[in-house]
Amino acid sequence: MAISEEAIVRSELRWAAIAIGVVSVIMLALIYAGLVHHINPPSNIERIDPKTLHLGGEFTEANLGTRVSADGQVTSRIVATQFTFQPRCIVLPANRRVTLRFATPDVIHGILVSGTNVNTMIVPGYVSQVHTEFTRTGELLMPCHEYCGLGHSEMSAVVRIVPSEEFKPDAEGKVACDAR
């Protein structure tokens, strides 16, 4: 063979350096996204008992949906259960930081809001939380994207993003979708 062992090792080491370089670029891109755009995975280790979720305060039926608190924080609370979301339609303002909180009383579910970076698993025992800002108005589909049983294919909700002028909370701070 014309090529020497040292030359082989050298070329392999050069390539390994390139490979490590590629890997480093990827990690730097992730760090950039994290530091500059605050892009994080939706971790939230907030435990809640699924079996008594419906008896508690935050996820009681009357408190679900979008609510604006006294200090202007917009929070939407949604329950995922076999095989529906409650509420099935939520309304949120565009161009404003919002928080979505999800919980389930039964099995694993998950959601994504189409066309956005809102994506999280909903695991019984935990409250899932996503902070985001919607930039475009319109009706977005929010399907359940994790297998939750035989009714999974039909499980979805609608997220309606409205311009800020149309986003008007009532006296209690709640904003509901219009009845369809």
């Binding site: 605050h38 009681t60 095989f83 529906t84 409250v127």
Partner: protein, 272 residues
């Protein structure tokens, strides 16, 4: 077997350990400290809290404020399933016959209603389903001027016992009378649901192998009038004791014709 340490090996051990420890040091620096602290600074969260959130020992994200909540609980049912309750329903302490005596006037001694047009069957029904309705009648989560006074005197153990008692009876056999052939549109709803209206297949919760909600009742050979009445009640919102609107959301988009069709399907079914 390697007995003598090979001089070729030490560099491998050293470099491998260095590589791995460097990766950890890098991840610790960025993932455990820098990212959360810098994100927290922009969001008004202090450094210690940011790191705790990044580690997961406190809830929330380093990059956002935690929302507050002060909502009052308004449960639509007071039943909460638990391992102990499921165990008690499977192995009740008290015997149910004595309690069941007062149910027999309408629901029959063997759980088969004396008049299906007026009362539902209890024979072969899921014990969890019966227990939940009894509890809901007692707490007022489900309104019934007939049932509410009758269950007020029942204790928890008695409700469990009578539920298990009726669950053990066999289903009523199908009458000899001929039923009309099943409507394909109804069979479609039962087996496949309707994606356009976001209705899951009825089987997805009420089928034998569904893995659906604990309190989902068996619908086979139930009173046609009762099934239709309950679907109408869920549709109008008059009945609200389904947890998180599992039944209300399904019944609401159904047409009256579909409700009648479903009630007939289950009343006449041999296979479900």
């Amino acid at each position: 077997m390697d007995r003598t340490p090979d001089p070729l090996d030490r560099p491998w051990r050293v470099w491998a350990s260095v590589a791995i420890l460097s990766v950890f040091a890098f991840s610790l620096l960025f993932g455990f400290v820098l990212l959360p602290v810098i994100q927290g600074r922009a969001a008004g969260v202090d450094a210690f809290e940011s790191i705790c959130r990044a580690l997961g020992i406190r809830p929330g994200s380093p990059s956002g404020r935690q929302p507050e909540t002060s909502a009052k609980a308004q449960p639509t049912t007071r039943v909460a399933w638990s391992a102990e309750l499921m165990d008690a329903l499977a192995n009740p302490e008290a015997a149910g016959e004595s309690v069941a005596g007062s149910c027999a006037g309408c629901h029959g001694r063997d759980g088969r209603a004396v008049d299906l047009a007026l009362y539902p069957d209890l024979a072969g029904q899921s014990a969890a389903a019966i227990y939940k309705q009894l509890h809901d009648f007692k707490s007022g989560s489900r309104r019934s001027p007939v049932m509410a006074p009758l269950v007020q005197s029942l204790s928890e153990e008695q409700m469990i016992a009578v539920s298990a008692h009726f669950a053990a009876f066999p289903l009523r056999p199908l009458p000899a009378a001929q039923f009309p052939a099943a409507d394909p549109a109804i069979e479609e709803l039962v087996a496949r649901g309707d994606a356009a209206r976001r209705i899951a297949a009825c089987n997805a919760c009420h089928g034998e192998q569904s893995g659906g909600p604990t309190e989902a009742p068996r619908l086979s050979r139930q009173s046609r009038e009762y099934l239709a009445a309950q679907l109408h009640a869920f549709k109008s919102g008059e009945r609200r004791n389904d947890i998180y609107s599992r039944m209300r959301s399904v019944a609401q988009p159904l047409t009256d014709k579909e409700i009648e069709g479903l009630a007939l399907f289950y009343a006449a079914t041999r296979t479900y």
